[in-house]
Amino acid sequence: MKRYGLWKYLLILLVLCFGVIYSLPNLYAPDPAVQISYTSSSQTADTFLADKVKELIEKQNLEAKIELEKDYVLVRTNSYQNQLIIKDILSTAMINDVVIALNLAPTTPKWLMDIGANPMKLGLDLRGGVHFLMQVDTETAIKNRQDGTLQDLRRRFREEKIRYSQAGVESDASIYLKFNNPDVLQKAEEFISDNYSQFNFPLISDAMSLRLVLSDVEIEQIESDAIDQNLTTLRNRVNELGVSEPIVQRQGKKRIVVQLPGIQDTAEAKNILGKTATLEFHLEAQMDTPRSRKTSYPYRNGMGAPAFLQDAIILGGDQVATAQASFDENGLPQVNITLDGEGGSKMHRATRGNIGKRLGVLFVEQKTRTVYERDVEGKQIPVQESYEVKEIISLATIRAALGTTFRITGLDSPSESSELALLLRAGALAAPMTFVEERTVGPSLGADNIQAGIFSMILGLLLVLVFILFYYRVFGIAASLALTFNIVLLVAVMSILSATLTLPGIAGIVLTVGMAVDANVLIFSRIREELNKGREPLEAIDAGYNRAFLTIWDANVTTLIVAVILLSYGTGPVKGFAITLSIGIITSMFTAIMGTRAFVNLIYGSRKNLERISI
């Protein structure tokens, strides 16, 4: 029989140690914890914050361990109940400037963490939480950009003394300009080609009008800018919500995935995430303002007749540096706003020359509604469509030139003021979004799923082990050890890759158990066959392993191909399943072939004149 080199034993031993160590962190159950960090990202958690937290918790005589981490203060508790109590205590006592989030803090011992051993991440279906998939309405972003460009064009045409008779943005997002005379048209055309590069050139024109269509490159740029800005804004908003380990990621061309573990109030989360509310500051239109440059808006609280505001925007919500909700001297909700430098000077310039006139604050919100359209076959299909709502929240006389700080009143309720403050702080979305998918898993279902998954895994493993021990005896021991080793290794690899374990992922592990045994069944059947042919036991073992190898190889490679395709095409449950299946196939090749071979050689390899083997 082929001698089994020492290095192979050492390799197996090494891999075994590695597997055990790196899968070990998964045995330590995490602590329910609360983490507290400062709202502003420039301020990192310090002992001051830790002491304050400690004081608040000690007052209530609750058992908790307070640790100061790099970015936050962590309060470890011993039960989910205490976790919620502590969160409530802290959030009532420290309202402003901190974010309080529920978390599951790993209890991995330090020596394991030092060598980079961490537990697997649990998917939302196992720990509870919300998964949102949002589609960004980039068409609106493009239209908004054209609106801005048109405003700019009007100003510059005025400066250049190019007189146009009509201008506007069409529904296909092209700008049209009408002129009274072909010479002016030509002048305008030259001016646009010299100063604007974002359009398709040459411009589409007829005798009296121009049409400006954005180039494909520009459209792509606007779309990707819009998604980037939405990502940033969403990250800010998620931070404001107080979630530990959130995921905010782009998916495909126009979609964003948001995963919030541990969040239970999805309505609140959705409200904050999807809101496109922002502010715009406009001067009130005067009697002499032409109709084409003013628009009438209703009041948000429904009181008073609609008022006309100038179309030109002084500044928008994107120039708000900070915003805090508070109450005015009469106890009515208000928002204190601080503008950034540029916003401050714009505001100053606009209000300086208009003292005595009125400044309007517009509340702008993108909403979506469902409309029914007919498709090609004439069937009614529901389509989500977004529309814009603009309402005046305040229209107040400018008494003095405004600077960087001022306040906004006229809000309905404290919840509206705090929501507005949050949205202004987190920034506006560049384009509205619709929720195209939502999956919420309650904490109780998550716990049940873990339990069910682990139970079925243990039972499945036991059934298979009993069967192969009974059927293959000594060789069955080898196969059983290999199977167990395979699960350990699989968990270790998952932990190192910090892959996420989901319920279908557990199903993948269970299935791997059933299928990994196949390699051993192939080998052992072959050995039995060789024995039946009358070969010597040791020769039969050799022949069994050698002949079965290529079959196992082919069979596993093809399954791996399927798993990899699942991984690249699948989403959600499919992906979770594919990850464990692919890793399981690779690790099982090692354990089922090398692992069992080493074991069999240890037992039978040194015996000369072996007459019978137990298979």
């Binding site: 919420t440 069910a452 290529l550 399943f577 299946l581 090398m594």
Partner: protein, 305 residues
């Protein structure tokens, strides 16, 4: 285990059997369609847990009064769990509305929210398309790999067997109207992997025997190969079925249909690797001459254990 069964004597009967089953499956698929789950139809789903047995008809009535006429209400797993489905709806807020409606109508009972799912209409059709694409790509890659490692006839036979398996499992799901969702789709792809595993093992033995056996009868060689691999095929199917039944009974409601699809798949896959793949090889006229080309087996020698 050693067997000496004349499998191929049954091959015509198996052919008729398979054809009938395929026609039945396709027919059911076309006329009854699949009972698509939320992942593919789009809509809203809410799972709630009541402290005591939930009163389904009362819940249904509350929902109708609250304006949710099309809601399907049923127990899920146990009498305490309730699943409410609104297929085809396009508003993402219905789930929370249902939860608050039911919570406020049963003040004496604390309702636990287990899950809410909302899938928009465009996602549903996308998931369906992606699933179909993934399956076709998987089949194409399988064919290429087998053609490269074995020979094109084996590739053809394996793919015929795989298509047979997928259609039959889909047919079973359509016939008994079990819900077909994303996890079932994943299971279907796993069936492809599993069934292929089986087919490859058998093909591998056929190839080996075509080279080593003295007999010139392909029929006899294939029959011997099937008998030699039968023991292994049965044991592997058995161990896989053991874990699948454990998943089916203990893995929870969300995994049940996944396990079921695989259970059907393993059974059908085992059958197809014996009767469909081997049968196809004979019908394609495989004989010793087809394997005269040197195989690149030596290239793998350094991978031997």
């Amino acid at each position: 285990m050693t067997f000496n069964i004349d499998f191929l004597a049954w091959r015509r009967i198996a052919l008729i059997f398979s054809s009938v089953f395929l026609i039945l499956s396709i027919g059911s698929w076309l006329f009854k369609d699949l009972n698509y789950g939320l992942d593919f139809t789009g809509g809203t789903l809410v799972e709630l847990s009541y402290p005591d047995s939930a009163n389904i008809s009362e819940i249904r009535q509350t929902l109708v009064l609250g304006g949710f006429e099309g809601a399907q209400v049923a127990n899920f797993g146990s009498s305490k769990e309730v699943l409410i489905k609104l297929p085809g709806t396009v508003s993402d807020s219905l789930g929370s509305e249902i939860v608050s409606l039911l919570s406020s109508s049963s003040l004496d009972q604390e309702i636990d929210l287990r899950r809410i799912e909302y899938v928009g209409p465009q996602i549903g059709s996308e998931l369906r398309d992606d699933g179909g694409t993934a399956m076709l790509i998987a089949l194409a890659f399988m064919m290429l790999y087998i053609a490269f490692r074995f020979q094109s006839m084996f590739a053809g036979a394996a793919v015929i067997a795989l298509i047979h398996d997928v259609i039959v499992v889909i047919g079973i799901f359509s016939l008994i109207q079990i819900e077909f969702d994303l996890t079932v789709l994943a299971a279907l792809l796993a069936v492809i992997g599993y069934s292929l595993n089986d087919t490859i093992v058998v093909s591998d033995r056929i190839r080996e025997n075509l080279r080593s056996m003295e007999s010139d009868s392909t029929h006899e060689i294939i029959n011997t190969s099937l008998n030699q691999t039968l023991g292994r095929t049965l044991i592997t199917s058995l161990t896989t079925l053991l874990v699948l039944f454990s998943l089916y009974f203990l893995g929870g409601e969300l995994i049940k249909n996944f396990a079921l699809a695989l259970i059907f798949g393993v059974i059908v896959g085992t059958y197809s690797s014996i009767y469909i793949a081997a049968n196809a090889l004979i019908m394609m006229g495989l004989n010793k001459d087809h394997l005269k080309v040197e195989e690149p087996e030596n290239a793998d020698e350094n991978l031997l254990p």
